[in-house]
C-alpha cells in the first residue's frame, strides 16, 4: 500500500469498497434485528429504534455510493416510463416501519394512470430519504401527492411539523458548499435528491427540487419536479 493514497487517487476507491463492506455487515445486522423483533411479541421500542437507525445508516451509505459513482463518472441513469404510484409505493414501503412506529397517518394522493419518466430505483430511493425526514419531523400526518404541471411531473411531500429552518430555506440545494455539513443536519438526503433530479433531462429542461413551508398541512413542503 502506497504511503500517500490520496496522491494515487486510490482514496475514493477504498472509500467505495469500504462502504460496500459496511453495507454487507449492515444487512446482516438488520436481518438479526428483524429476527429478534419477530421472536418478541411485545414490540420492544429499543429494537425498533435499532432497526430504524440501521436502515437510516444504510440509506446514507447508498447515497454516498451513488455520489461516488457520479463523481468518478461511473454513473448514468437508466430511464423508462413507470406508473408514478409504483415509485411512491416503493418509497413508502421502504419507510413502512417508521410510519407505523410513530403512528403516522401517511396519505397518498396519486392517480393510478399518471406515468413518470425516470430512473426508478434512484428516484424512489431519493424520495424515501425525504419521506424519512418528513416522518421524523411531522406531528401526525404526511401527505404525498402527484400532479402534472406544464412540462413537468410534480411529486410533493408535505407534513404538519415545524417546517424547515430558515437557513435551510435560504440555502441553494444544488450547491454542496451552501449546505450545513458541520452542524449534523447536513441535508445529504436533499442534496442527493436534487442531484438525481438534475440528471433527469428533456431537451434543455432538467429536473429540480424546491422546498418551502407552504404545506397544506401546516409544516414543511418538498417538491420534486421531473421533466
Amino acid at each position: 500500500m502506497p504511503a500517500n493514497i490520496e496522491n494515487n487517487g486510490l482514496f475514493p476507491t477504498i472509500l467505495a469498497s469500504t462502504v460496500h463492506d459496511i453495507k454487507n455487515s449492515l444487512s446482516t445486522l438488520l436481518a438479526l434485528i428483524r429476527q429478534t423483533l419477530a421472536k418478541q411479541n411485545n414490540c420492544s421500542d429499543d429494537l425498533n429504534q435499532l432497526e430504524f437507525e440501521a436502515a437510516r445508516i444504510n440509506h446514507s451509505l447508498m447515497q454516498l455510493l451513488v455520489m461516488y459513482k457520479i463523481d468518478s463518472q461511473k454513473f448514468s441513469l437508466l430511464i423508462d416510463e413507470y406508473p408514478a404510484i409504483d415509485i411512491i409505493r416503493e418509497a413508502v414501503d421502504q419507510q413502512a416501519r417508521l410510519s407505523r412506529l410513530n403512528n403516522i397517518d401517511l396519505q397518498i394522493a396519486c392517480d393510478d394512470e399518471v406515468m413518470c419518466y425516470c430512473d426508478y430505483p434512484n428516484v424512489s430511493n431519493a424520495l424515501a430519504s425525504v419521506l424519512n425526514n418528513a416522518l421524523r419531523y411531522t406531528k401526525q400526518t404526511v401527505l404525498i401527492s402527484v400532479s402534472e404541471e406544464i412540462g413537468y411531473l410534480r411529486i410533493t411531500i408535505e407534513d404538519d411539523g415545524e417546517g424547515y429552518p430558515e437557513h435551510f430555506l435560504n440555502a441553494d440545494l444544488n450547491n454542496m458548499a451552501d449546505l450545513d455539513w458541520v452542524s449534523g443536519n447536513t441535508g445529504l438526503g436533499l442534496y442527493f435528491v436534487s442531484v438525481i433530479a438534475e440528471l433527469h433531462k428533456r431537451g434543455d429542461v432538467c429536473g429540480y427540487v424546491q422546498v418551502d413551508n407552504q404545506s397544506r398541512l401546516g409544516g414543511a413542503r418538498f417538491n420534486l419536479f421531473l421533466p
Partner: protein, 542 residues
C-alpha cells in the same frame, strides 16, 4: 396485512444462513407456506429442474461456485423456469459491474439488500399483476406461436389499459420485428418517440435500420445511443454487430472492450472479444480475454471446451508450447470423456508437437484427431472442422483436408462470414486462394439451382421446383437459402392446390430445420405468419 403468498411455490437461494432465515421469516410473515431453500448455485439449479416455482429469490453472491447471475442464465438457457415464474435477483452490492451484470441476465427484478416485507410484496404483486395480464401472450411466445402472440397482443392493446400500454407496445414492436414486419415495428417506435424520448424505442428504430441493411444509418443510431445511454448494454452489442457487418474488426474490439469494462462478467461478450482480438492479430489482448473466458466458464452454462482450445491455440501461436500443453491438460481434466474436447486437444497437440520438433507425437495426435473427426461426423462444429483441415494440410494429409473443406463449402456456401474464416485459415498456412475455384463453382451452382427453381415456381410447377431443391439439398445440406425457398414453395403450393397432411408435415419439418440451420428469425417469421393465415382459412373451410 392483506398481502398473502399462500399457495405460492417459493425458492430461496442464499448461502448465508442468517439471511436465509431472515428471508424465510419474511416470507412466512407474508403467509407463504411452500418455501424451498438452496444454499449454493448447483442446489438451486437442481431445485428448479425438479419443480416449478412461482417465485425464485436468489442472492447474487453465493460463495464459491455459481453466482446468482449464472444460476439465472443457466435456468433460462436450459428452460428450467417458465414464463410464469418471477425471478428476483438480490444483492447488497451496488457496484456498477454487479448491477449491470445482473441486468444482463434479465431477472424480473433486481432488489437491493436490505429490503423489508412490504417492499418485497409490492414488487411481487406488481409482477404477478403484469404476468397475469400478459399470461396468454407470454404462453404463445413460449410455444413459438408468433401469429397467436401478435393477435393476443393486439387484442390487449385494443382494450387500452394505460398502465400496461407502453409495455404492450414494446412487446408488440418486438413481435413485429420477429415477424419481419419492420414497417409496423417502426411505426410503433415512432409513435412512442413522439410522446417520449425512450432509449428502447430509439434502439428499436436502429435495429430496423440494421435489418433493412441501412448499415450506415444504423451505425449512427447505435453510436449516439451508446454515447447517451452508457449503461444500456444491449446498445454495445448492436454497435459491435454493426461494425462487424462493415468488416471493421478493430472497432468491434474497441466496443467490446468498452462494454466489458462496465460489465466484466459477461462470458459471451468476453468470448467474442477473445475471437475478435485473435482475428485482429492482437494476441496479447486475445490471450487475456481467453483466460477470463476460461475463468468465467468454470461455473457458467455458456462454458465450452472451445474456450480452452482458443487459449491453447494462442499460446501455441506465441510459441509458448509448454503453456499450451498445460492448458490442454487442464481442458482434458475439465472435459473428461468428451469427444469434442478430445478432438480439439488432439488437433492442437499435433500442431504443438510439430513445432517442438517431435514428429512422432505429432503424427499420433493427428491420427487420433482424424479418427475422432470421422466418428463425430456432422456433429463436429464447423470451426473445429476448419482446424482439423488446417492441421491435415500442415501434415501433408491433403486428401483428408480437401474432403473436409469440400463438405464445409457445400454446407455453408451462403455464409460469407464463414467463407472468410475459411479463406483466412488458408492464408495463414500460405495457401492463399486455395479453395477459391471450388467456392465460386459452388456459389454458381447454388445460384443456378435457385434461378431454375424460382423459374419453375413462377410457372406454377411447384412439384418440379420442389424436386429440384430436394436434389440440391442432398449436396448442400443445411443450406439456408434452399430451405427458405422450399418453405416458400410448399406454402404457396398449399395455398394454390389442395391441402395434404403429408405436405403439411413437410412444412413443419422444414421450419424445424430452418431454425436449426439458424435462419434469421424475422425471415422465418414472415413465413410463419403466412402459414398461420393459411391454416386458419383451411380450418374455416373444414
Amino acid at each position: 396485512m392483506s398481502y398473502s403468498l399462500a399457495g405460492k411455490n417459493i425458492l430461496i437461494v442464499e448461502d448465508n444462513p442468517v439471511f436465509r432465515k431472515a428471508m424465510r421469516d419474511m416470507l412466512y410473515s407474508l403467509r407463504a407456506d411452500v418455501v424451498v431453500e438452496a444454499d449454493n448455485g448447483i442446489a438451486a439449479i437442481d431445485a428448479v429442474a425438479k419443480s416449478n416455482f412461482d417465485i425464485v429469490l436468489c442472492d447474487y453472491n453465493l460463495g464459491p461456485g455459481k453466482n446468482g447471475q449464472q444460476v439465472l442464465e443457466e435456468a433460462r438457457h436450459r428452460k428450467l423456469i417458465d414464463y410464469r415464474c418471477v425471478f428476483i435477483l438480490i444483492s447488497a452490492e451496488q457496484s456498477t459491474s454487479v448491477v449491470l451484470g445482473a441486468m444482463d441476465s434479465k431477472p424480473d427484478e433486481y432488489l437491493a439488500k436490505p429490503f423489508n416485507a412490504q417492499q418485497l410484496m409490492s414488487r411481487l404483486t406488481r409482477h404477478f399483476e403484469r404476468k397475469d395480464y400478459l399470461a396468454n401472450v407470454d404462453k404463445a411466445i413460449a410455444k413459438g406461436d408468433l401469429p397467436l402472440a401478435i393477435l393476443l397482443c393486439d387484442q390487449l392493446l385494443a382494450v387500452g389499459d394505460k398502465k400496461m400500454h407502453l409495455h404492450l407496445l414494446k412487446m408488440r414492436a418486438e413481435l413485429a420485428i420477429s415477424a419481419g414486419d419492420f414497417d409496423k415495428a417502426g411505426q410503433i417506435y415512432q409513435e412512442v418517440l413522439q410522446h417520449r424520448e425512450l432509449p428502447w424505442a430509439r434502439l428499436g428504430l436502429s435495429v430496423i435500420d440494421f435489418q433493412n441493411n441501412n448499415i450506415e444509418q444504423a451505425l449512427a443510431g447505435f453510436q449516439s445511443l451508446v454515447a447517451e445511454n452508457p449503461m444500456l448494454m444491449e446498445c454495445y452489442d448492436w454497435l459491435s454487430k454493426t461494425y462487424e457487418a462493415l468488416d471493421q474488426y478493430h472497432d468491434v474490439e474497441n466496443v467490446l472492450q468498452q462494454a466489458l469494462e462496465l460489465s466484466p462478467q459477461s462470458i459471451l461478450r468476453q468470448k467474442k472479444l477473445a475471437e475478435t482480438a485473435d482475428k485482429n492479430g492482437n494476441l496479447e489482448a486475445a490471450e487475456k480475454a481467453y483466460k477470463t473466458v476460461v475463468k468465467l466458464g468454470k461455473h457458467s452454462v455458456h462454458r465450452s471446451c472451445s474456450d480452452f482450445a482458443g487459449l491453447a491455440k494462442l499460446q501455441a501461436k506465441t510459441n509458448a508450447s509448454n503453456e499450451a500443453l498445460k492448458t490442454l491438460a487442464q481442458m482434458r481434466e475439465e472435459y473428461a470423456n468428451h469427444p469434442e474436447a478430445e478432438l480439439r486437444a488432439s488437433t492442437l497437440e499435433a500442431d504443438v508437437y510439430k513445432a517442438l520438433g517431435n514428429e512422432e507425437l505429432s503424427q499420433q495426435a493427428l491420427q487420433k484427431a482424424l479418427d475422432l473427426c470421422g466418428s463425430l461426423g456432422n456433429q463436429t462444429p464447423r470451426d473445429l472442422q476448419l482446424e482439423v483441415a488446417r492441421t491435415c494440410f500442415l501434415n501433408d494429409e491433403h486428401g483428408r483436408a480437401e474432403a473436409i473443406l469440400q463438405d464445409l463449402i457445400h454446407c455453408h456456401i451462403d455464409d460469407d462470414r464463414f467463407l472468410d474464416d475459411l479463406r483466412r485459415m488458408q492464408s495463414g498456412i500460405g495457401m492463399d486462394n486455395h479453395s477459391e475455384i471450388l467456392i465460386q463453382k459452388t456459389k454458381q451452382a447454388l445460384i443456378a439451382t435457385n434461378n431454375q427453381g424460382v423459374a419453375l415456381y413462377k410457372q406454377g410447377k411447384f412439384k418440379e421446383a420442389l424436386d429440384l431443391f430436394e436434389q440440391a439439398i442432398l449436396t448442400m445440406p443445411d443450406n439456408k437459402t434452399i430451405i427458405v425457398n422450399m418453405l416458400k414453395i410448399l406454402i404457396h403450393d398449399l395455398k394454390a392446390n389442395e391441402f395434404s397432411v403429408e405436405k403439411n408435415q413437410r412444412v413443419k419439418a422444414l421450419f424445424q430445420k430452418a431454425k436449426q440451420a439458424g435462419v434469421d428469425q424475422h425471415k422465418l417469421g414472415i413465413l410463419q405468419m403466412e402459414y398461420a393465415k393459411l391454416r386458419q382459412s383451411q380450418l374455416a373451410k373444414a
